[in-house]
Assembly symmetry: C2
Homo-oligomer: 353 residues x 2
Amino acid sequence: MNNQFGIIMAGGIGTRFWPESTPEMPKQFLDLTGSGKSFIQQTFERLNKQIPTEQIYILTNERYRDLIKEQISQISDKQIIAEPVMRNTAPAVLYAAKKIHQINNKAVMLVAPSDHYIANDDKFASNVQAAFDEVAQSDKLMTLGIVPNAPNTGYGYIQFENTPNPIKKVLQFTEKPDLQTAQSFLNQGNYLWNAGIFVWSSASILQAFKKYLPEMYQIMSRNDDIFNTALEKDFIKKNFPLLENISIDYGILEKADNVYVLPAEFVWNDLGAWNAIYEQLHQKDTENVAVNTQLLADNSRGNLVKTNGKKVVLKDLENYAVVDTPDVLMIIPRKDYQKVKEYAKYFSPVPEK
Amino acid sequence: MNNQFGIIMAGGIGTRFWPESTPEMPKQFLDLTGSGKSFIQQTFERLNKQIPTEQIYILTNERYRDLIKEQISQISDKQIIAEPVMRNTAPAVLYAAKKIHQINNKAVMLVAPSDHYIANDDKFASNVQAAFDEVAQSDKLMTLGIVPNAPNTGYGYIQFENTPNPIKKVLQFTEKPDLQTAQSFLNQGNYLWNAGIFVWSSASILQAFKKYLPEMYQIMSRNDDIFNTALEKDFIKKNFPLLENISIDYGILEKADNVYVLPAEFVWNDLGAWNAIYEQLHQKDTENVAVNTQLLADNSRGNLVKTNGKKVVLKDLENYAVVDTPDVLMIIPRKDYQKVKEYAKYFSPVPEK
C-alpha cells in the first residue's frame, strides 16, 4: 500500500489579482501564466506524479466545491474537504490529518499551497520524495524551504543549523522581517523562505497538535469513529467552528523542536501580485509579457498584458500591467500592483465574506 | 403630397475606427459617442423629422442590407438601394434621382452622409427646409456648408460670393488645401467646409447629369420604365457596373454654374478618427471622455476610453485612446490616430473588398 497522501490548500479568496481574481473565482482557479492550466490543476498534476489520485485531498471552502470538481475531474467528491467556516491553516491541517490517519495510520502527508508557481516538477518530486522517506522513519516535521534570491520582506524566513546533511534542523522562524534584517539573513546564508510546503507523518503531526494545540486536538478527537463516514459532516459542522483561528506555522512549527527543512531545488514563486507574473515570466527587462494575448507592441516595453485571448495593440507604453476581463479593463503601472485591492473595492464595495 | 425625399449615403467601409469599425460593421452602424444610437439611426431620425418615413432611401452595399433593416426597422426593403458594385457618389446619386423622379417628378431631395456627428437637429431641420423651399422653385443645386473653425487641411472648401442673401452662389470648390491656403481661406471669410450635404430637385440634378456626365446619364436612361419595378434589379445589375467611378462633387458640382451654398447653423463634425471623438465630446483638456464605460481615473487625464459597457481603471495615463472590443484592445496616444489603419492591417491582413 502506498502511504503517501497529498493535501492541497485551496481556500484562499484574495483579490490581489483583481480583476481576474474575485471571491467567486480566486487565484488558485485561474491560469495567469498562459500555461493552459489553472494553478490548482498544475498543483494537482505535480503531486499526482508520485501520490495516487485517490490519496490527494483538497482543503477548501464549500463555495468552491463545484469549481474544483470542474477543474479536477479525476478526484471524487469525498476528496474535497470543505471547511464549514473560514479558519486558518492549523484547523484545516488537523482535520485533514485526522481523516488520513483514520484511513492509514502509517500515512505520510505533503501539505502544499494550491496557487504557487513551481517550475521543474522533477526536482519538486525528488525533494518531496526525500522528505517522505525521512518522515516515514522519524517523527520529523519537515518543510521545503526556498533559497532566497533577494531580501524580500514579504516572506517568512527559516533559519537552519548549518550541517552537511541536506535535511537541516530548523533553529527559528521569522515572519516578514524589515529590509535590513532580511539582508542580514541573506548574508548569513543559513536562511530559507517559508513556502508553506510541509511533509510529515499523520502520526507525528497529530502528536504535535496534541502537545502544542491541545484544546484544538481534544475537540477534533471527541469521536474518531466519525471520520470518513456519513457522520463526519455533522461532526465538523458542529465542532470545526469551535477551533482556534491560528496558522500551522504559529501554532505548531514555531514551537516544536522536531522541525526540519530541506532546501528546495525547484524554481518557486508565490506570485503574490500582478507584478510578480511579469518578474517570473520575462527574460529581459525590455520584454513585454503577453499572457493569452496576441500582442502588437509599438514602441512599448516591459509591459505585462493578460487578456482572455484578445488581440492587443500598445503604443508608447512602458512597464504597465494591462489586464482585461469580460467585465473590467485595468491599465496601471506595474509598480503600483498594491493599488489593485483599492480598485477592486471601488468597483465591488460589498464587503467580502 | 409631400415632395421631400431623403437619401442617406451609407456605403462606407472605412477602418479608421478600428477595432470598433470593420468591413462587416463600419462606422455608420456604430454608436461611438455613447448616444445609445448608431450614426445611421441618428441620421435617419434627424431626416425623419421633416421627411416622411417612406420617402427616405438608404444607399448602400448589398452586404449591409440586413444591418440596415435591423437598425432602422421603420423602413421597407425597397427603400434600401443597394449598389451591385462599389462606385463613387455620382452613380449612386443618379440612381437614387432616377428612382425618385419616377415616383414624383416634383421631388426635392436631401442627400446626406450617414456617419457624421450633428448637434442641434432643429437648426439642421430649418436649414434643410430653407434649401428645400429654394430648390422647389428653382434649378439650384444646393449644398449646406460648414463655417470653418480651424484651417483643417482634410476637408474640401467652398468659396462663395459674398452677398446679403443667406443662400450664396458658389464660386469654387477646393479639395484638401495645404495649411497656408486653408489659413488664407479662413482669413478671407467667404469659405465653408463641404460636408457632403446636398439639396436639389430630382429634375435639376437629372438635368445636370445629362449636361455634365452625359454618358452615365444615357446608360441609366436606357429604360426609365423599369425603376421601382421588379425589373429594376436586373437592369441595375447589368448597367450600374458600366458607370464611371466619379464623385458628385467632381463630376457635377465643380462644373455646374447653378451651385449654391447655405452656411449651416448646426454643430457638425465628420468624426474622421478616434481623436475627433475626444475633441468633439470633451469640455476641457484635462477631462477624460468615457464612452459606454464606467471609468476610474487615477492620476489620468485627457483620455478617450470606449468599451462596450466595461469598468475601466486607468493609472498614470494621459491623452491616450483606449478602445476595447470583444476581440481587440487598443491603447495608443490619441495623437497617433492615423496609425490605426496600420494596426488594423496587421491583424486583418486579408485585403478588403
